[in-house]
Symmetry: C2
Subunit: 293 residues, 2 copies
Amino acid sequence: MKNSTFSPTVAYLGPEGSFTHIAATHLFGSMGLVPQQTIPDCIEAVTVGHVAYAVVPLENALEGSVPMTMDYLFHGNDLFINAELSIPIEQHLLIHERQLDYVEELESIHSHPHALAQCHKYLQNHYRRVPLIQTTSTAAAAKYVQEHPEKRIAAIGNRLAAEKYNLRIAEESIHDFRTNHTRFVVLSLRKEFLELDGKSESAKTTLMIKLPDEDRPGILHQILSVFAWRRLNLSKIESRPMKTGLGHYFFIIDVLEDEQHPMMKGAFEELAALNCAVHSLGSFYTYEQQPSR
Amino acid sequence: MKNSTFSPTVAYLGPEGSFTHIAATHLFGSMGLVPQQTIPDCIEAVTVGHVAYAVVPLENALEGSVPMTMDYLFHGNDLFINAELSIPIEQHLLIHERQLDYVEELESIHSHPHALAQCHKYLQNHYRRVPLIQTTSTAAAAKYVQEHPEKRIAAIGNRLAAEKYNLRIAEESIHDFRTNHTRFVVLSLRKEFLELDGKSESAKTTLMIKLPDEDRPGILHQILSVFAWRRLNLSKIESRPMKTGLGHYFFIIDVLEDEQHPMMKGAFEELAALNCAVHSLGSFYTYEQQPSR
């Protein structure tokens, strides 16, 4: 997908071999990627100009969380979304080459708690009596297995971790839910379209809408009316608590239209008339990685 | 808050000293609590009858995730919500008593990656050059500090972890956002109200609404109209992808009314007439723990 002449510096939520690493590589290739320990570290790196872009999970991947990304975007950081990528979250059972014959006699299975949770049914069916050891990331689990070739142990992790730590995939796609996609966003200081091969036909706009302070029943219904009569389709809506106390919410809405569209401008005007504060995170194309099988 | 004669067995997302542990203790006291490694383990324990209740995070706490809880509730588990508890997520700098004089000369700070992220600004301002070491949980970090009294290290964690591992709070409330509440739910096999001291005045109902299969622009607006004209207030709305492929969504809606209310019954009938599949997770009271200061 990556255009060969295009290689900016990109911060991503690490460690190497994380799902965010897969997302960043898919969009930007493997050059210029800089792993960060946390989502705020990614956001800071691009805000102060250490890197041109940051790639962070927007929905709940193993290593991140929507709330954290959204909170940092909402509370005073001047970043915009330049692209969105959806990738399948696929977990595999990874094992050292020397232990391939002993996959049915494992002494322990290592992974991040969320990865262990995503493979709950598989582990119950095949390894009910095998101790599960929690690690800080799926990549850390794979590294541990690589460093202990004499042990009858396995890691749960993705294909990139298998390649990076030279492990074999003893069993493919052991996660409970087949179609488990996770969304990542590319952030930068500028409103711009990241245009690469494989982009979606139409653009999407992410809006953060803060409700008026006074309690007004039915206000959400009014807000949606602004979009509904204009045939502006919403692909996502989520309420998030403000940090000013319980019961105060803002909404995150994805609209399937470019924010420059005349209908969108009309919608913005009416939302302002309803006393809503609207902040646009920009318009962007969406990308999609297909499952491996 | 706990009623003294009421002490059922309760599974919660561990380890001991986790925020979910705080939530479970707040509602049920400290007796009969059984830590579990993952959210699916909690759900299974109550589904097969090993315990009477399970306490899991619904919003994104450190150790859990909405998507995982919601996916398991939506996909075939017959559990209902009996209560909801909101607690403040407060992170403290924890240190061994012997090292209290050296808090400004720390050699490393240990915690879960999300806790490190939540204290990003504090760490940037006070410990920019101190290495951050990731652990599998805030409790694991506290345990490590307890076991190495000779080292000039600190953990980031909550008050329960400080008590459990006999550490001092060197600095209180070092998280970036002051009013950071997280919601937990009590699940069981029965539709019932968990009635304890401190319950909310009115009940709340959580609904999962699956849209009709055919693509119908404005359907969400139609659904909200069903509630709006009845003056049924929504405190939360969230779209979640179905596991059947991208672009298919279901909605999670919290309505501030008991599902037995006549207006709610009318709403259910109209939603069915709109070809929506509605699944109620039950009505329940909400509880709230106040911040420590």
